[in-house]
């Protein structure tokens, strides 16, 4: 199943199951969605529930919050995660805080979907995910979909949660054909052990999952049996699965596409040292995006983010340096 088809199926089935579910965003209706995620929904559910908005992200999210207050379950689509910065006030000051500052009286069942990540030569203003910003905000749930299975089940769960969810997708994944697994008792907040291993733990999420899997082939040749964890949920973070793995392997690598400084890896590393400092045989290795805006030129772009080659090289260097 294509990744974008899994998302489409999740939205379609949610809308069919509950008429309070609506989707709004730029080009989500007649155009069918910038990445074809909402294809077919406009003709099926009509303009009242599949809402073409102006290019005004503050209003896309603000309107969605108002709809949620009125009892709808809106799915707000932001065309690219970078544009969500225009809606930051609505996401953080409003959606995330209304329940708390009203003493629990307000409920905002809202899903904000946004594709992001480094795609292919889209340059600095179209190449980012703001997972670290969103996952640092109390009151927001932050989910990431790296694969068709999670995209389908995770999004369906998100739509029916009674709190605001930031649902992060990756632009390069939309056209990918992926295996789809039926899951019973799906838990959106649970990390996935993608591959079991005994020598070291690699923690990753979103598109880096595939770079890590690619790198793992080389690591295997070098005799390293890595355990790979895909986080799925960044807030809450499934520290239990992480800690159990690190206690087993005693070595941990975090691979993330976002910038290294203040990135997800920084938070994850801090939590690992809180939970299993004495289990570690070596310092935690962070392989992350460089601390630069994303450049246009393809060669420079690839230099700015982790790639399978770089992941392998950095892990081997780290092992040698620490004698592990």
């Amino acid at each position: 199943m294509l990744y974008r088809e899994a998302l489409n199926k999740a939205i379609d089935e949610s809308m069919a199951a509950d008429e309070s579910v609506v989707i709004l965003g730029e080009d989500v209706g007649r155009y069918g969605g910038s990445y074809r995620v909402s294809e077919g929904l406009f003709s099926k559910y009509g303009e009242k529930r599949v809402i073409d908005t102006p290019i005004a992200e503050l209003s896309i999210v603000g309107n969605a919050i108002g709809m949620a207050i009125a009892g709808l379950r809106p799915i707000a689509e932001i065309m690219t995660a970078n544009f969500s910065l225009l809606a930051m006030d609505q996401i953080i000051n409003h959606a995330a805080k209304f329940r708390y500052m009203s003493g629990g009286k307000m409920t905002i069942p809202l899903t904000i979907r946004m594709p992001g990540g480094v795609s292919r030569q889209l340059a600095a203003q179209h190449s980012e995910n703001y997972e670290t910003l969103y996952s640092s905000v109390p009151g927001l749930i932050v989910l990431t979909a790296s694969n068709a299975t999670y995209a389908y089940y995770g999004l369906k769960e998100a739509v029916f949660l009674n709190d605001p969810v930031v649902f992060l997708e990756h632009e390069l994944l939309y056209p990918m054909d992926m295996e789809f697994k039926e899951i019973k008792n799906f838990d959106p907040f649970k990390a996935e052990i993608v591959k079991e291993g005994k020598d070291l733990t690699i923690i990753t999420y979103l598109k880096m999952r595939y770079d890590v899997l690619e790198a793992e082939k080389e690591l295997k040749k070098a005799g390293i049996d890595a355990e790979i964890i895909d986080l799925n949920s960044l807030r809450p973070l499934d520290i239990e699965t992480i800690a159990n793995s690190v206690k087993k392997t005693k070595k941990c690598v975090i691979v993330e596409e976002d910038h290294k400084t203040g990135g997800m890896g920084a938070e994850i590393a801090a939590q690992i040292q809180e939970h299993c400092f004495y289990n570690l045989d070596a310092p935690i290795l962070r392989i992350a995006g460089e601390d630069v805006p994303i450049p246009y030129n393809r060669k420079l772009e690839l230099l700015s983010i982790p790639t399978p080659d770089k992941i392998v090289k950095k892990i081997l260097e780290w092992k040698a340096k620490n004698g592990i």
Binding site: V22, K48, R49, I51, T53, P54, A56, L58, S59, V61, G62, N63, A64, I65, G66, M67, A68, I69, A70, G71, L72, P74, D89, Q90, N93, H94, F98, R99, Y100, M101, S102, G103, G104, K105, M106, T107, P138, G139, I141, L161, N162, D163, D187, F189, R235, P236
Partner: protein, 323 residues
């Protein structure tokens, strides 16, 4: 002028005035902290609008105590919130600027200037597709009319013919910045008139405010799209308790104080002979009692428990998953 209505207007405005004066006193006494924005001088807007817009959803800015009272929120629950007590309308977690009560369809005190306008518009969209025609009332100040969220909101509400009353409270000052320094129009209805019917009214006259909102309400209920009202008003106090007031003259304040909405309503009602002195004496005594009870209730209420710090971040289901 209808006698029963005038009585109601007077009582609520006087209650609002005395509530605010008590809040000011308790702030000075150290029982209320943070930002406290008093509505003194602007009671005709708060009371006239809420008496007219008696159904539908209300989204408001942070100068909202009297608006909340006029909507039907208990003065006790508001004062307790100002005191930061467990019995406050937002359990002591919101304070003066955040008085929410979904049972009254009252959402607000939003303390991000213009931040509530897109939310009001989205709510109006939902009400429209849900087939409810009572619509949405969104109140904001002159300062908000310069923000991007304001322009996005009048654009969308107009494009989609949504049932929203945009009510601009023009008291001329965004904290200490006069509207003429930062806007091409001092009369704000100019900003909306290409999008929707827009008018400017005397916001110091509660009857005029009431009638304007009744007219606007009819307009939105008939599916004719949004409506814009600008009410000229004035706050007799500073922006908040921390305002030294250096940006405006005593003369200007005096000019507006002569237009005091409460005293003028009383005077007019007595002149016309539609309400007698006796009523005003009784109303004043009742106000005194309600406000004193609110303060006593707030003062004697318990503080929130320590464990409440972690409550209400998420719904129960998500909270269990997160912890």
């Amino acid at each position: 002028m209808n006698s029963a209505r005038v009585k109601k207007f007077y009582y609520l405005m006087k209650l609002g005035r005395k509530f605010e004066l008590a809040a000011k006193r308790e702030y000075m006494n150290g029982n209320i902290a943070g930002f406290l924005h008093l509505d003194i001088g602007q009671e005709a807007v708060s009371v006239g609008t809420m008496q007219a817009f008696d159904k539908g959803d209300v989204f408001t800015h942070y100068r909202e105590h009297v608006l909340a009272i006029a909507r039907g929120m208990e003065p006790k629950a508001i004062m307790a919130e100002l005191f930061g007590k467990k019995t406050g309308i937002s359990k002591g977690k919101g304070g003066s600027m955040h008085l929410f009560d979904p049972t009254l369809n009252f959402y607000g005190g939003d303390a991000i200037v213009a931040g509530h306008l897109p939310i009001a518009v989205g709510c109006a969209y939902a009400r429209k597709i849900q087939g409810e025609n009572a619509g949405v009332f969104a109140i904001f100040g002159d300062g908000a009319s310069n923000a991007g969220a304001f322009f996005e909101s009048i654009n969308i509400a107009s494009a989609w013919k949504l049932p929203v009353i945009f009510f601009a409270e023009n008291n001329y000052y965004a904290i200490g910045t006069h509207i003429s320094w930062v806007s091409p129009f001092v009369e704000l209805y100019n900003k909306a008139k290409n999008y929707m019917p827009s008018k400017r009214i005397n916001g110091m006259d509660v009857c005029e405010v009431y009638n304007a909102v009744i007219e606007a309400k009819e307009h939105i209920e008939n599916g004719l799209g949004p409506y814009f009202i600008e009410a000229e008003t004035y706050r007799f106090e500073g922006h908040s308790m921390s305002d030294a007031g250096k940006y405006r003259s005593e003369e200007e304040i005096e000019i507006f104080k002569r237009r005091d909405p409460i005293e003028n309503l009383k005077k007019k009602a007595l002149e016309l002979g539609i309400v007698d002195e006796e009523y005003f004496r009784e109303a004043d005594a009742k106000v005194e009692k309600v406000v004193n009870e609110a303060v006593e209730f707030a003062a004697s209420s318990p503080k929130p428990e320590d464990y409440e710090l972690f409550e209400d971040v998420f719904c129960k289901e998500c909270e269990n998953a997160v912890s």
